[in-house]
Symmetry: C2
Subunit: 317 residues, 2 copies
């Protein structure tokens, strides 16, 4: 039996990430059974209909009971209360692995670790993958293919449990890297949290304008704005929890972002064309690095692939 | 003969937009002949090889001579000098239509209009379409399909010339709207210019970080950052000229953006979760408007369409 295989996987929360884990785990034959819990009966019903879970519950404790892998797939702010609920119900199996998929790691360790019984292995995790869509119907098996999953095991963590979870994520299609929660939160603040915040922000700025109508903002959005609205369409509850739980790193990165933006603003005001050209050119180099690393395609996406030629280019990528 | 058809179209500058106009005009049978000019012999040669132009030159005046439609497809800062060059060579045909595709309109009118001889119809234009790629090989016939083209004809402009250019852009696949240059520059500042500036900016902020390596920024870019690098991969010269030539509107929108960002920053610092949730939720409404208006697809692009299921969804959109 593969080390990556679990007898029963419990998905606590069955949204985009939870349902994608289910699809990818079935694809790779990594799960004997998959059970799950969601807050509403409607989501549980939907997950059963879609074949995402073999059995569904409305409490985390019921799903956790008898599972050898428990994955918290809820917004970050829910993880602490859920861990406590499972612990208080005595529903953690001995030697079970408990992990999560939250975009913040320091706060998860702070909130979850105190509730984890001795003999249960808590290995926080974060797959760097997603779409702007939410809910159990948004998941698909290929979501993690070629993307990175970061694990932030505590120092005293059982090495075999970490190795097993790593093998599991590799089985789902991911590359895996380990780092400290603090470093994770700093890296993600710049690569994900601040980008989302400024996307949310510009949509709101556009909404406040006089003399430019919403209708105009929508019609002429193909000049760049629509790409920000795509990012800003992500789940509001998830993102609220991210910002409240990675406050320090986000505020530091925002401060740096604002300083750099002020410098650009000043270059525009004083007609410093050379400065603008130099800064704009540097961005292209980093873009090439991302394409070479397989983290994006070089298909011309602003044209939104309306041609056969482009569809072909995309499939190749 | 269709009003939208021209005997000879001169493309001054043969990059993404110029070459796309050529492809789309041929598709619709709107051009007797297409000629073009580019600064370098290599680009002229490439445009001939790709069949974009029937004849190519290294000066704008040679391309303009004998053309009944002249389209300036260079960075905004070049348009004034080029109009002067054509005028000084006496290369404008009587009753020719002169237009451009610049992302800024007030400065174009300021720089170009003084050089336009009596009897030549100057109708500034701006197709709101593009990709993050540049050069003659980046163009394709479908680029303008379903996108908007804004014309900003001066008050005393010949109505027949405006109608003809409008029919031409409709023939290329666009919707067409007219407005004043000032209003155009304000709308585009928020829907295109400021979004590009903040995309360039966050890439630079990431580049300055200590303790977070470029390698990490690249590896973990799928959390949002890569979408900004796509926008920031656009042509640096074009964008330098946009910011230098739409200074007033860009600086105003940047000021508003910064105020709104400061408010979000403050909400994070003081744990105002309800404020964050409300602002994040509003962004989703605008996103729906953009999809309903056909200006973007609702295929889950962060997952970058790796599945058959998604490719199908994309084609449908």
């Amino acid at each position: 039996m593969s080390a990556a295989r679990f007898e029963q996987i419990a998905l606590i929360g069955i949204g985009l990430i939870g349902s994608s884990i289910a699809h990818a785990a079935r694809r790779a034959g990594l799960a004997g059974r998959i059970v799950g819990s969601a807050r509403t009966a409607a989501t549980v019903e939907k997950a059963l209909q879609l074949g995402i879970v073999d059995e569904g519950f409305q409490t985390a404790a019921e799903a956790a009971r008898g599972s050898d892998l428990i994955v918290l797939c809820t917004p970050v702010g829910m993880c602490g209360p859920i861990a406590r609920e499972i612990a208080e119900a005595g529903a953690f199996s001995d030697a079970a692995i408990l992990t999560d998929v939250g975009s913040v790691k320091g706060a998860i360790v702070r909130d979850v670790a105190p509730h984890v019984p001795v003999g249960v292995h808590f290995v926080p995790g974060h797959p760097i993958a997603g779409t702007e869509q939410s809910g159990p119907e948004a998941g698909f098996a290929e979501l993690f293919d070629g993307r990175w999953c970061i694990l932030t095991p505590p120092e005293n963590c059982d090495a075999a449990a970490v190795a097993r979870l790593k093998a599991f994520w590799q089985g789902l299609g991911s590359h895996v890297e380990t780092m400290t929660p603090e470093h994770h939160d700093r890296v993600l603040a710049i690569t994900s949290h601040v980008p989302h915040l400024i996307a949310f922000n510009i949509v709101n700025t556009a909404g406040h304008l006089e003399r430019v109508t919403d209708r105009e903002v929508i019609k002429f959005s193909a000049g760049g704005f629509r790409d920000f609205t795509r990012i800003a369409a992500s789940d509001p509850t998830m993102w609220r929890d991210v910002f409240l739980n990675n406050k320090q790193a986000v505020l530091e990165m925002l401060q740096r972002f604002s300083e750099d933006l002020t410098a650009l603003q000043r270059a525009i005001r004083y007609d410093e064309g050379d400065t603008l050209h130099r800064l704009f050119s540097e961005a292209r180099t980093l873009r090439r690095g991302i394409i070479e690393a397989g983290q994006d395609t070089d298909a011309p996406d602003f044209g939104r692939r309306t041609t056969t030629h482009q569809a072909g280019a995309d499939e190749k990528a």
